[in-house]
């Protein structure tokens, strides 16, 4: 059996899937972490707001999920991953980058917006809707990343089959 070099097709494809899942997850972890700290602070004074604050904390969790979707796409679109050539593997790696990078950064910044949202809710629980909208806007860009990654991967899939 051929040895699996770092620059071989399968290794690069796996690197792509892994990067998408890992950076998306990292973005969400950082984001929910920031939002969670703010939410805990508010909860210490206003425990009745727990439900609303929990919603704000999970908003930056989407990027992790999108990262997972990206990794699923790679494994599902290319079931015969061992047969990929080096250039196909590299293509997959690059195709995963938009999702990975937007996931990381939008997760981080969505967390900051959600943390600010927690302050809004602390002062005025009726501001919940607005706080959600502000935070959701940041997420849009992770979705674009996912979209581009999907289109790029889909192109390769149709080309191969």
């Amino acid at each position: 059996m051929e040895t699996l070099a770092l620059t071989s097709g399968p290794a690069l494809a796996a690197l792509g899937a892994a990067t998408a899942a890992a950076l998306g997850g990292a973005g969400s972890a950082i984001g929910s972490g920031i939002a969670g700290q703010a939410a805990s602070g508010v909860t210490s004074e206003k425990p009745e707001l727990f439900g609303k604050l929990l919603v704000l904390e999970i908003l930056p969790g989407s990027q992790g999920i999108y990262g997972l979707v990206g990794a699923f796409l790679v494994t599902l679109f290319f079931p015969h991953i061992m047969d990929l050539t080096a250039s196909q593997g590299a293509y997959i790696f690059f195709a995963c980058l938009p999702l990975a990078i937007t996931g990381l950064f939008s997760g981080m910044f969505q967390g900051k917006v959600a943390a600010a949202g927690a302050q809004v809710v602390a002062k005025n629980p009726d501001g919940m809707g607005k706080a959600i909208v502000f935070a959701a806007i940041v997420e849009t860009f992770a979705i674009f990343g996912l979209l581009i990654t999907f289109l790029l991967l889909n192109n390769l899939k149709t080309a191969i089959s």
Binding site: I58, V69, A136, F144
Partner: protein
Amino acid sequence: MAVVEMKKMAILVAQDDTEKILAQLQKHGIFEVSKNVKTESPSVLPKELASTESRLADIDFVIRFLTPFAKQPQSFREKVLGEMVEGNISEVENADAKDFSELIETCSLLEEEENRIHAKQSKLSAFLKLLSYWKRLDIPLQTLRSTHKTQIFLGSVDTKEFPDFSQEIADTEYTYLKAVSHSTRSTFFFLLTHESSVVTVKQTLENYRFTPVDFGKALGTVSEEIREVKQNQESLESRLQEIELQKRELAKNVREIKLAADSLLWKRQKKEAIEISSGTKSTTYITGWVSARDAATLSQELFAITPYVEVFEVEAEEGEVPPVQLKNNAVVKPFESVLNLFGTPAYSEVDPTPFLAPFFAIFFGFCLTDAGYGILMTVTLLIALKVLPTTKQMHQMLVLLLFGGVSTIIMGILFGGYFGMTQEQLPFLVNEATGKFYGQIFDPVKDLMPKIAALAFGLGFLHIILGVILGFVNKIRNKDTVGALLIHFMELVLVGSVAGIVLLPSLSKVFFGTLLIACAGIIWGTGPKDSHVFGRIAFGFLELFMGVIVGWVANLLSYSRLFSLGLATGVIALAFNSIASTLGGMMPALIGIPVMILLILFGHSLNIGLNLLGAFVHSGRLQFVEFFGKFLEGGGRKFSPLSRKTTYLYDSRHL
């Protein structure tokens, strides 16, 4: 199934009957008192309110003071109730009539005494510690006085510096230094000096930062003093025990006092209502909001209490908005908990609860997709609903989760999820003909693209379309017909045209036409009305691309969370099963099987816990961001009528 129509009513009542009328309104919980701005309130009332508040504060103090000494909850039910006590709501009615002033007095005296004793105790133990360093000093303290020709110093210096210090003292004439004891920090000593050396000695003491010891009024030997301090401590301790016994005895009244606290809460609510109303010497004029249905019978109901009352409808003040009360049937009602996490819709908006209900339930199941977990959830929740004493909100939440549980069973069957087990492990559930579980339509991994993804995005599509339609309805209700047509209706046309171009290419020219019309409508409709024509078009373009087109793509893709969470649940369950069986298989059966069971229990509990939370919040998020974003402004004020809310009494019939 909607936001209830509200009417503002005024009640004019004889002053003497005011309390009775308010009590009746409170009993029914249908009337929200609003502040009357026009006339000044009768000035006697704030005093009454203040006295009720101070009584409530006293009673609260007694409850806090005695509760730790009351009978601790025994049964599971009592433990769940916590500081609440079970009883009948009617018990609260006159619970504050009894005079508690003696009890309050006793409790506050006891608290003062306790505080004094605690202060003394800490003083004594500090003194005891100090004495312990001087144990070796076996002469009575009263004899240690400086004389005509000599002076005595008792105290300490830093242990590290003591050798140098003693050297320096030894070098001074007519001195005698004796170390009594030392701790790691300080060395305690006795120093005697002749008057001729006092100045030098004092200088040395100062150089070494001497700390003199203060024995206070102690006269005997140190060991005598220690004995006395210990005796004192014992007598304080026994007094504390007496106080505790007394508290235990008093704590038998806690239930009664808690009911009185609730009764006072009701009273305070009534007094507050009077305070924000207005009146004359002999009448009170109360205004407030009632649902249109209750408004019709309000006058009749109050007449039954007293003949000296008049009820009539009044105009709302300028800028005053009616409070929002939602009315939903028993099936939809629990889903109000989801809406409550977001906020309250405005009075003029549609109540989104019945629309979000089916989607929330389906999404919840989609995020878990495991029939085993669903059954476990359903059974647990049914038991909890039967056994647990719950407040209204808790009850709603449990019923909501119950719907989620049922939905999880259905989705689990469709996706063939049973505690993450494979077909080989559950042969009796497998349909031989298809090679799948009975009722299974999707294979969670193989069918992810395109079938399951299509299901998720399809549900999302319907969800958002419903949101746009509700946006249309809201605009119409707010009498913005042009906005409704140009924005929401055109958005539907736009989406329909795109779907038409994709699905019916032969008619694409027609659909391109409608698409252009829709775009033009949205551009004109969303652009700011007061700006210049070009500005309006420019802003409209921006809104069309960023808001509508980009919004649709982003919103739809967001529904990918449904199958991601669902798949994650299944994969984690599968992983725990295989970890458990691999590890269990490696050990002899006697240890292996218990280890396997423990791992499986741990793994699945963790998986259920995490994913249940995930399913709940993500199903909620799809409502708040993607669905509500299309139509709901929120910011309504929740209806909060005079009501018989209780802090301490739990009456299962009064929910």
